[in-house]
């Protein structure tokens, strides 16, 4: 397993994917800076909401697709699946390694996002201690909520040799997020909306699916993660190269 991870990392090290990690946290931080919080006691909550809007509603779900497609891209491009899978490595390890790489990239993105939030607080001089619990719940929650999406996107990316097609699909399913999160009925069950639901702080003003308790959300997330991951994993075991 370690071998496969190191080999995967070597392939990514010199690619442009590292730039993508920064884009969303930087934009979110700018949005956080632009948000006015003069006349509210909920400065951190409001800033986090402002930052999550762009990041969690749009960019983060899109990144799951971009990263998943990226880790399969080199194999699809140069006929690398044949070379890779004719090596003494098990297909399970290859699939798991790719999954781990993608979720690590997303974890780094979340760390940068949290860093951005703290930075905004410092720059604007928010009073009191840092609300660590809220920040971590949001960042980690959002990351966990992205896992089923990763599982789904990795499945599609492995199956489809095109780089653009899985991305296009991801965009098509991400855009309705804005509507879906308003729905208490569908929101929690829509994989593309889950990162947003997990990342937004819950306040009295919460709307739509944001009122769904975290426990319910996590059960749905873990359930779909297992389902999607096993489907992709099984597909890859049987795939003819």
């Amino acid at each position: 397993m370690g071998k496969v991870l190191r080999s995967e990392f070597l392939k990514l090290r010199k690619s442009s994917i590292w730039l993508l990690i920064f884009i969303s946290p930087v934009l979110a931080t700018l949005a956080g800076l632009g948000q006015s919080v003069e006349d509210t006691p909920y400065k951190w909550e409001i800033t986090l909401s402002a930052m999550s809007f762009l990041h969690a509603l749009l960019f983060f779900p899109l990144l799951t697709g971009v990263f998943s497609a990226f880790v399969c891209r080199y194999e699809h491009l140069g006929g690398g699946w044949k070379q890779l899978l004719a090596m003494p490595v098990s297909r399970s390890n290859v699939y798991i390694a790719k999954f781990l790489i993608v979720i690590s990239l997303l974890a780094i993105t979340q760390v940068l996002f949290a860093g951005g939030l703290v930075l905004v607080g410092q720059l604007k001089g928010f009073e009191g201690a840092l609300p660590w619990k809220m920040i971590l719940t949001s960042a980690i929650g959002g990351w966990i909520a992205s896992l089923p999406l990763v599982a789904l996107q990795l499945f599609v990316s492995v199956a489809w040799s095109s780089f653009a097609a899985p991305l296009a699909i991801n965009v098509v399913f991400t855009l309705p997020n804005i509507l879906v999160v308003n729905s208490e009925q569908f929101g929690p069950y829509y994989p593309w909306a889950q990162p947003f639901l997990a990342m937004m702080p819950t306040t009295e003003e919460s709307f739509g699916a944001l009122n769904v308790p975290m426990e319910t959300l996590m059960i749905v997330i873990l359930g779909s993660l297992v389902l999607f991951f096993l489907s992709g994993f099984t597909y890859f075991q049987r795939k003819e190269i």
Partner: protein, 304 residues
């Protein structure tokens, strides 16, 4: 353990309801260079994909190093190097980094990278990104990758694809040297028999998914019977005259053909012709090339 490095039993692959490979029994002994021949679409690549565990046989079994591929795939693949169809590479990485990504998976020593680079003569281009390589260089990199793990069995699918004549020669020499120097067994596919003639010790010919010939290249060569062609004036009369003397001859393309015969028999025929006042312009041996035999074998529906 069986004496074969590769042995398949009724290996079959069906796509939808068409057979791409049908009941193929490959038998390859240690140290052989096995030429796996067949025209386009014959099933060579499909067979090789099954040998490497990339595709599952519909029916039949594969034993490599005496081990069942279904059960001990990873153990077998440790000792196999391969290049299937066209070389795989990561374009944004240099040749060296490409091999490093593979070396990590194989647990080979780092020094091995320089060794294989020099074997395929890419040492000077090792630090260049592969996307700038010519097809021939990529092909050589693919062969370097196949050699990286010091394999005991090398499976090369059309390794000379896209190479210029000097590149082809180079790869051929490389392939020829390997069993001698390292005791490697090689399976190499091609759709040109002439190419195999120069390196293979055994050949297997496959067409439309079926194996129609599997034996030593000498056996195949013996099938290239020669004929004697005689060019005379007034071919037809000369031919009739020979027939009337009870000499077996054929007429084709304004020439008389005799089946391969002894020197004395030929001289008798020539004597007869001259005696009967025909002018003998040319007497020559016409040998069918291996390529002709190959075409004959693979084009007709008939098999051996």
């Amino acid at each position: 353990m069986s004496e074969f490095i590769i042995e398949t039993n009724k290996l079959t692959k069906k796509f939808k309801n068409r057979y791409a490979v049908e009941s193929v029994n490959l038998q390859i002994k240690k140290g052989e260079i096995y030429g796996f021949l067949g025209p386009n679409g014959a099933g060579k690549t499909t067979t090789i994909r099954m040998l490497l565990g990339l595709a599952k046989p519909t029916y039949g079994s594969i034993q490599i190093f005496g081990k069942d591929m279904k059960k001990e795939k990873l153990t077998v693949l440790k000792k196999v190097g391969s290049l299937v169809e066209y070389p795989s590479y990561y374009g944004h990485l240099t040749a060296y980094e490409n091999l490093e990504a593979i070396r990590i998976l194989l647990d080979a020593p780092k020094s091995r990278i320089d060794e294989v680079l020099s074997i395929v003569r890419l040492s000077n281009d090792a630090k260049r990104p592969v996307k700038g390589f010519s097809l021939g260089m990529k092909q050589r990199l693919g062969i370097a990758a196949a050699l990286l793990g010091k394999p005991e069995l090398l499976i090369l699918d059309e390794p000379t694809n896209g190479l210029d004549p000097s590149g082809i020669l180079e790869i051929r020499e490389l392939i020829k040297s390997m069993p001698k120097e390292h005791g490697i067994t090689i399976l190499v596919s091609s759709h040109l028999l002439s190419e195999m003639d120069q390196m293979a010790t055994q050949v297997g010919i496959i067409t439309k998914g079926k194996m129609i010939f599997q034996d030593s290249i000498e056996t195949l060569r013996q099938r290239s019977k020669s004929k004697i062609a005689i060019k005379v004036n007034e071919t037809e009369q000369a031919w009739r005259m020979l027939l009337s003397k009870g000499i077996q001859a054929e007429m084709e393309n304004k020439q008389i053909y005799l089946p391969h015969s002894s020197d004395e028999a030929i001289s008798t025929v020539v004597e007869e012709l001259i005696h009967n006042r025909f002018s003998v312009f040319r007497v020559q041996e016409e040998k069918k090339s291996l390529e002709d035999i190959f075409l004959e074998l693979t084009s007709g529906e008939g098999s051996l």
